[in-house]
């Protein structure tokens, strides 16, 4: 299969006869990375699947407006992040779950999740991550698991690199404290 650059794909997407073709390639190219990013935020597979579909619907509707002054992948991540956070907000509202209980709700989802292959230590790490505030959680996941550059994370979450570094540092400390204080 031919490898297309993002610029080539965007050009194809803007011509009506190649739009579907270009979009299918964009999905194939980015679906996995976006899925895992979303999954770490919403935890459950079914929820991640819904959010990923909604993300690509938003991408389809907005791609013709995309200005190439930022990278396509950071733009896609920004949409996926916003969709995930919106989804969580809606879920809280729908089930009248207060913030403090929502952390427990996500932990329960993690416990009951069918599509979880990790061992007890990985589960413990995921539970520790769920104790973090929303933004710290995002930053930690993108830095720790995906090893993304701070500049890219900054573009995605709209926070300065300095603030992100501080946020990541705090997140690591909190998680290590959790691991120390929650011995099985």
């Amino acid at each position: 299969m031919t490898e297309y650059t993002d610029q080539e794909l965007l050009k194809m997407f803007k011509s009506e006869d190649k739009k579907d073709f270009a979009f299918r390639i964009i999905i194939n190219k980015y679906q996995e990375r976006l899925y895992w990013h979303i999954r770490k935020i919403v935890i459950g597979h079914e929820d991640a699947d819904d959010v990923l579909q909604n993300t690509f619907v938003k991408v389809w509707n907005g791609l013709y407006r995309f200005r190439e002054d930022s990278k396509l992948y950071t733009w896609l991540y920004r949409i996926a992040t916003n969709e995930s956070l919106t989804f969580l907000k809606q879920k809280k509202r729908r089930y009248f779950i207060p913030f403090i209980d929502f952390e427990n709700h996500l932990k329960d989802t993690l416990e009951s999740e069918e599509f979880f292959d990790g061992d007890q230590i990985q589960k413990k790490l995921q539970k520790a991550i769920l104790t973090l505030p929303e933004k710290q959680r995002l930053v930690f996941n993108m830095k720790y698991f995906e090893d993304m550059k701070y500049d890219d994370i900054s573009e995605i979450v709209g926070t300065s690199v300095g603030a992100l570094k501080a946020s990541y540092h705090h997140a690591v400390k909190k998680i290590e404290n959790y691991l120390k204080n929650n011995v099985d």
């Binding site: 996995e32 579909q53 999740e113 979880f116 230590i121 589960k123």
Partner: protein, 152 residues
């Protein structure tokens, strides 16, 4: 490397602990593209209901107009307090310019209008007294004196 109670992050695998159903990523692009096609084929619910809403609004408007029209047309009939006799009398009254003409007409038809007749006579007496320049008060006094004298 991994022990059961790690205290440092480095001791934990960075591999994702989550997994997806089989062939999930193979099928996903088709599912999304299918969703776009379905969306293009299926007009939005509002688009479907738009003609129905317009028709409903039209019928409501027509019904409202009809109701108002019925209200306006029915009103005089409801408010009518005249019966056939009143209408007949109104028509009858139109032929005469004053009460005297009516009384004359009634008397001509053999209907005696007593009160009016009395009034007519009284009017004649008054006219007579005025014509003869007789003071009404003096006349009354004289009549009373005459009555007193006859009683004595």
């Amino acid at each position: 490397m991994n022990n059961q109670n790690p205290k440092k992050l480095e001791q934990i695998s960075k591999e994702t602990p989550f997994r997806v159903p089989e062939d999930y990523f193979e099928k996903f692009p088709d599912r999304v593209m299918e969703r776009f096609k379905t969306k293009e084929k299926q007009p939005k619910i509002l688009t479907i209901l738009k003609p129905a809403f317009s028709l409903a609004a039209l019928f409501t408007g027509v019904a409202l107009l009809a109701y108002l029209a019925i209200q306006v047309i029915d009103k005089p009939a409801e408010q009518s307090q005249f019966n056939q006799a009143d209408i007949a009398r109104t028509n009858y009254d139109k032929k005469f310019s004053n009460e005297e003409e009516i009384i004359d007409a009634l008397e001509a038809e053999g209907i005696q209008v007593k009160d009016q007749g009395k009034n007519k006579k009284a009017d004649q007496y008054i006219n007579y007294l005025l014509k003869e320049d007789i003071d009404y008060g003096t006349l009354i006094n004289e009549l009373e004196n005459k009555n007193d004298t006859s009683k004595e």
